[in-house]
């Protein structure tokens, strides 16, 4: 006789910035249904934004997400500049894109690290986070902050990148590229990682379209959408780069897309730095008089996908309505497709694969029997389930080699 088991994931863990509770209903090892509760950390930012001036809203939206903290100001700036028909300078465009791409690099490295840790590859975790450090140092050099850079304002940016810093940035990017080669090789060629992630958590093209998923989650299923290409903003139309896609739609494809995107980001930054040399130094903002009445739809491609900001202006100095949609809002809903029918050990990496800013295993607290409420497993046993799966695979694959 089978017991229906409820496994709660969440809601709180220090690793994750967005508390959410996922309830996996399992029959034995297999996930049969999934339900979620969100809103533990609902801060009312949309309402708060209506009480702030346009200048202040930048600092507010920067705090929506700690990892992709520049993508929200980016989309908000695009929305407000659309309302007021502001044409920003080329230097601003280049610097905005540099910040956006550096953020993508550090965010993707963070994900690779967490995914590695979850699969039982703690070396990948240590490596990825070690190589992420110089990127954060770059942020500190450019903006003064490792996170929450406060670079954006309406019509421009707050700090310039001086000529003397360009060689330093190039040097760090050169070093980084070598490290990424190493990391990509280690991840892409490992037979155990292949066995753990290929064919797991598959999202088909139709699932992506139905749920409106965006970013690497969509691109890994062969849906080539990228705001930077489709609706170009900042310096993206001025440089050469390509949209990375994969067809399989499984966890491996998502990892592949993210790792290869890091190379594109490095290439974009190099071209932007070249572009900066041609633009007059200090030309980083335009004068903004007032924001007229109107509607602005701003979007930007964050590391996790399209960020969308809708701003309604009534001609005053603060937004009359400000709607924000982060990419995880649409990506998380796809769990209903990717997790059902998987084993518990695979469901957790499927949850982590859309990069909802946390490592799922860590959120598991305990497993309970639905009918009696009796506790069956604790968190460590659950994590060990995933680690043991990797260990078993390693043994079998070693036997074959």
């Amino acid at each position: 006789m089978s017991r229906k088991t409820l496994i709660p994931i969440g809601p709180y863990h220090p690793l994750q910035e967005e508390p959410e509770l996922f309830k996996l209903y399992c029959d034995g090892e297999i996930v049969k249904d999934i339900k979620w509760e969100t809103g533990y950390n609902h801060r009312g930012i949309e309402k708060l934004s209506e009480s702030k001036t346009y200048e202040q809203v930048f600092f507010l939206v920067e705090r929506i997400c700690g990892i992709c903290s520049t993508s929200h100001p980016f989309a908000f700036a695009n929305a407000v500049e659309e309302i007021a028909d502001i044409e920003i300078t080329n230097r601003t465009k280049y610097i905005r894109s540099i910040i956006g791409e550096l953020e993508r690099i550090h965010s993707h490295l963070l994900w690779v690290g967490l995914a590695g840790h979850f699969l039982g590859y703690n070396t990948v975790f240590m490596w990825a986070w070690k190589y992420r450090e110089p990127v954060l140092d770059l942020f500190e050099m450019i903006s003064g902050n490792r996170n929450s850079y406060a670079m954006f304002k309406v019509g421009g940016i707050r700090r310039d990148i001086e000529e003397t810093k360009i060689p330093v940035i190039n040097k760090i990017l050169d070093d980084l590229q070598k490290k990424i080669d190493l990391l990509t090789g280690a991840v892409m060629d490992d037979p155990v990682i292949h066995a753990r992630t290929k064919g797991v958590g598959i999202l088909t093209k139709q699932d992506i379209i139905d749920y409106g998923a965006v970013g690497p989650t969509a691109r890994a299923s062969g849906v080539a959408i990228d705001v930077r290409k489709d609706d170009p903003y900042a310096a993206y139309p001025l440089v050469n780069w390509k949209v990375i896609t994969a067809e399989a739609g499984d966890v491996f494809a998502k990892a592949e897309v993210r790792l290869l995107e890091i190379y594109e980001s490095i290439s974009i930054i190099r071209q932007c730095l070249e572009g900066l040399r041609k633009e007059p130094a200090g030309d980083i903002s335009v004068k903004v008089n007032e924001i007229p009445e109107g509607i602005g739809n701003g979007r930007a491609e964050a590391p996790r996908g399209e960020v969308f900001h809708f701003v309604l202006s009534d001609g005053s100095n603060s937004p009359a309505r400000h709607k924000i949609r982060a990419p995880s809002y649409v990506n998380i809903a796809t769990f209903k497709k990717s997790c059902i029918g998987q084993t518990i050990a695979d469901a957790t990496i499927s949850l982590a694969a859309v990069d909802p800013c946390y490592c799922c295993t860590e959120r598991m607290a305990a497993a309970y029997d639905v009918s009696s409420g009796e506790k069956i497993m604790n968190a460590f046993e659950l994590i060990n389930k995933s680690l043991n799966r990797t260990k078993e695979l390693k043994e079998t694959i070693k036997g074959r080699l």
Binding site: T38, E306, R321
Partner: protein, 145 residues
């Protein structure tokens, strides 16, 4: 296909339901329609024209309750806002969640935060404040301080 073609197709099909068309630029269009036509409009955009549903924004303004449904035509970078104005006293409109899943969460959120009722929604439960917020108090309405 470009913006002019897609918008002409749209105008031709829903001529009687269109109240106003504002073309700000080739990538940003706002079309105000009769709320009763939202289901055929969404079906036409999603199934025939290949639009992606981004999100919907609910507003509480002097006119009453308004919703902007944001659709994206990715291959031409177009954002098409389908705008509807709802009743002041009893705001309600048909749910789009039976056409695509992308609108499921946002309709629940709009129901919870601004009090718009979505007819035939598969599961209009609270999304954000499960069980710890007063009934009938809507924080995104203008009277809420």
């Amino acid at each position: 296909m470009n913006t002019a073609v897609t918008i002409e197709n749209f105008k031709e099909k829903f001529d009687s339901d269109i109240i106003e068309v504002i073309i700000r630029n080739p990538k940003r269009i706002i079309v105000t329609i009769n709320p009763e036509a939202i289901i055929p409009v969404a079906e036409f955009l999603y199934r025939k024209e290949g639009y992606r549903f981004i999100i919907a924004s609910a507003l509480h303004t002097k006119k009453g309750f308004e919703i902007h449904y944001h659709f994206s035509k990715d291959n031409i970078g177009l954002i098409l806002n389908i705008h509807v104005v709802l009743d002041k006293e009893n705001p309600q409109v048909e749910s789009l969640s039976n056409i695509f899943n992308a609108s499921n969460w946002i309709e629940r959120e709009m129901h919870e935060l601004i009090g718009i009722n979505f007819l035939n929604h598969p599961n209009q439960e609270k999304l954000i404040s499960e069980g710890n917020w007063a009934e009938g108090v809507y924080p995104l309405r203008k009277e809420f301080k």
